[in-house]
Amino acid sequence: MNPGAVDQARTESRPRGLAPARAVLASGATIMAKETRTTPAVTLHANLRGGTAGDPDGQEGVAHFVSRTIDRGTERQSADAIAEQLDSRGVTLSTSVGRHVLSLACTCLAQDFEDVLTIVADVIMRPTFAAAEVDRRRGEIVTLIRQDQDNPAMVAVEGLNAMLYGEGHPYGRRVRGTLDSVERIDGHALRRFHAGHCVPSSLSLAFVGDIQADRAIDAARSAFGAWTGAPVLEAGTPPAPPPAGRRGRVIPMMNKSQADIAYGFVAIARSDPAYYAYVLMNNILGQYSLGGRLGDRIREQQGMAYYVFSALEASLMPGPLVIRAGVSPSNVMKAVATIDAELARLATEGPTEQEMGESTQYLIGSMPRTLETNMGIASYLQMVELFGLGLDYDVRFPDLLSAVTRDEVHDAARHAIDPARATVVVTGPYEGPLP
């Protein structure tokens, strides 16, 4: 992205694959568009580089708070007027926040595209964060935080992130902040965050559906063309995650029936050359079919858990690799011992050639399914844009994955999943020893 460039409005195309159109406005905003004809509907997806990693110290949760209030009134129309216009067209504008992006997404009938885009653009550019709305949504956020505190799975994952990264690191903090920090956030804080992060150069739009790409791009240029703002200041480098030896925490929640285990490591960034080896390792370990090797052992053979899986969250910074399981409290020790054993086995022996072939084939073969729906394509395009993967990434992906060798996956396992360096958090009706 080059914020100073003239309006390129250049449509790039590729001979095969998804081949979306892409344009960069003079203001720096990026627009991607892909025409599909599955239904007479269009999905609009907007990403702004304003995620929780941008939460200032003491105001943890401000990005999430913005996501809950950005569509509650603008300089031009009230919250009720926005609600009425969207509701009358059957449109739900979903807002969400991740570590690095604030997202607004909706699907509308193709006939409503221009009208809905106008509303979405107004919401992105001119939110007011009026005091009454801020106070009302604060009550909702406080309730959400209280619900999280009663959710063993959420407590386990948040507890794991806090231990893996430390409270000073953006990945170690709670997305929704704390009861204290949310009390401190007011309209000024929300407007400051919006002004600093929600600017043209941080905006990436994806339009997918029953609309010609050029028409969608023209509509976006019209809606956002006059918007100006300084580029986002990059946040400073966060402190390094604390060095890891085996450690953990038990958080008893004796009112619950099932124990939740979150077991993890700090892994890699999305830009790491070993990324594709990690993807395959994760698939073999805890994804393939009913949860990879972990699912085979813990669910299918031992019958201990309804769910067990692993997830790799490689992002702009090194993200976590997390193993999750829900088990009876009497099986906590046994389940963690099995996870330890399976990780040690993969790290010691590496994957088999058969596993390499199966997981590679599965991940490549699942691309058409991932890209079947308008929302699926829009989310994919935003991922490609965030990580700078290029418009032909869907065409290149099979070769990138196929090139990974068994030794590279074995190396990834050796580096990433040594049980002696694991962090383990157990929540639920369990007061036993730390596994």
């Binding site: 239904t39 509907a41 619900q147 029936s257 019958g303 858990a305 009876s328």
Partner: protein
């Protein structure tokens, strides 16, 4: 890898056939992606279960992923994955279903798996035992969620006689005592072609699909399912209440009203009434409740969320074969007494019972439902799900005529349904009071 170059827009009409053994087959070509989806539906759900065997349908569903006569246990995994595919199954009150979605060249494998599942599952005793603890773990995971617990208790209170009263996962004591023969008996009785609907949708050619279906399923023998005993739920004569007092952080309120079956005259007026009260959801059990409804201008959102009494309000009217429930679920904001929330919610319900809805509200509700029906057709998986789901509770044609039927619902229809269906005597009020 198959690429995603645009294919000509085309979705054929639904082709419907019945094999000699009674297997109902629905096929639709949709050439928007190089994919195919197969769904095999069985007309059996938790409402068909008897005391002592609650949860058997769901447990049987789990057992039917553990190998067959011609698919060794260890080879179940990998058949569909080889084609980048996804497979799963679910059980609910009226139905049990299995699905695979993968690239179109996996079609034969998908049909083979479903044919095997229909007549060749193994029910190895050790596998049955191992799955007992998996299912109990699933049940306990659900109990961790206070909203799920409240829903279970409310349903059991609203129904006294009908099979809809017990949870699909079953009661714990039944899960602890059910035997391998109980599971196998249920499987042998209900998993017959004359009790099944096979749906195939995607980048396929219907005649070719029919040939393959006949080859895979044609020799499976039909069998009588036998008489299903079902007690009609007697009319509720007065308001029922329950309160769960349990350690927790958040208070929840849920109000349930007896609702019509999907083919009942009141169903669509009640669906539109729900859209006015809490925003339109649509009628896809898989998709509708995952995407929040457009609800910020809805009556209950204004009265409960915009006033700060609740952080969330959700209405739910599921399409079912027999009369089930219309529920309104609310989360109290931190510090709000449930009594205040209940008073405000019942005040709005009284208002709509007395005054009906406005023409503008009805128009908006119809627009919302029309849009949701379009959005729900965005994938072959969703399209096939809807064909099979409605075939198990009514007929797949019901869904295709729904758009037109919605248009013909009048203000008077909605007003009358509000007055009749939301009566105090027909409701059950459930509270989850956190003990801190």
């Amino acid at each position: 890898m198959a690429t995603l170059e645009h294919m000509p827009e085309s979705a054929s009409a639904v082709r419907e056939e019945v094999l000699d053994n009674g297997l109902h087959v629905l096929i639709q070509s949709v050439h928007t992606a190089p994919l195919a989806t197969v769904w095999c539906w069985y007309g059996v759900g938790s409402k068909d279960e008897t005391p002592g065997l609650t949860g058997v349908s769901h447990w049987v569903e789990h057992m039917n992923f553990k190998g067959t006569t011609n698919i060794p246990r260890e080879q179940v995994k990998g058949i569909i994955e080889k084609y980048g595919g996804y497979w799963n199954g679910y059980t609910w009150i009226d139905q049990t279903t299995y699905t695979e979605t993968a690239t179109r060249d996996a079609l034969d494998h998908m049909l083979f798996i479903e044919a095997e599942r229909m007549h060749g599952c193994l029910y190895d005793p050790a596998d049955c035992e191992s799955e007992r603890t998996v299912i109990i773990s699933e049940l306990q995971g659900g109990e961790n969620d206070p909203e799920q617990l409240l829903d279970q208790e409310l349903t059991a209170t609203a129904f006294r006689a009908h099979g809809y009263r017990h949870p699909t996962i079953g009661w714990l004591s039944d899960l602890q005592t059910m035997t391998r023969d109980d599971l196998h008996g249920h499987y042998k009785r209900f998993y017959v072609p004359n009790n099944a609907t096979l749906v195939v949708v995607g980048d396929v050619e219907p005649s070719d699909v029919m040939r393959r279906v006949a080859s895979h399923f044609g020799t499976i023998q039909p069998a009588e399912v036998g008489r299903r005993r079902q007690t009609l739920e007697p009319e509720q004569l007065g308001e029922r209440r329950l309160t769960i007092s349990k350690e927790g952080t958040t208070a929840y309120l849920k109000i349930g009203f007896h609702a019509p079956e999907v083919t009942g005259r009141d169903f669509l007026p009640l669906l539109l009434l729900d859209a006015v009260l809490t925003g339109a959801k649509g009628v896809n059990l898989m998709a509708s409740f995952r995407t929040p409804p457009p609800q910020r201008s809805a009556r209950l959102y204004h009265a409960l969320v915009d006033t700060g009494l609740a952080s969330a309000v959700n209405g739910a009217l599921a399409p079912t074969a027999e009369p089930y429930l219309y529920t309104i679920a609310m989360t109290a904001t931190d510090g709000t007494p449930l009594a205040r929330l209940e008073e405000a919610a019942l005040g709005e319900i009284d208002r709509v019972r007395a005054g009906g809805v406005t023409p503008q509200e009805l128009r908006k509700a119809k627009n919302q439902l029309r849009a949701r029906l379009v959005f729900e057709g965005d994938s072959i998986t969703n399209i096939a799900h809807q064909l099979g789901f409605f075939e198990t509770i009514a007929s797949w044609q019901w869904l295709s005529s729904m758009g037109q039927s919605i248009e013909s619902v009048t203000l008077e229809d909605v007003g009358a349904v509000a007055a009749e269906r939301l009566r105090a005597a027909s409701r059950t009020i459930g509270c989850f009071e956190p003990v801190r």
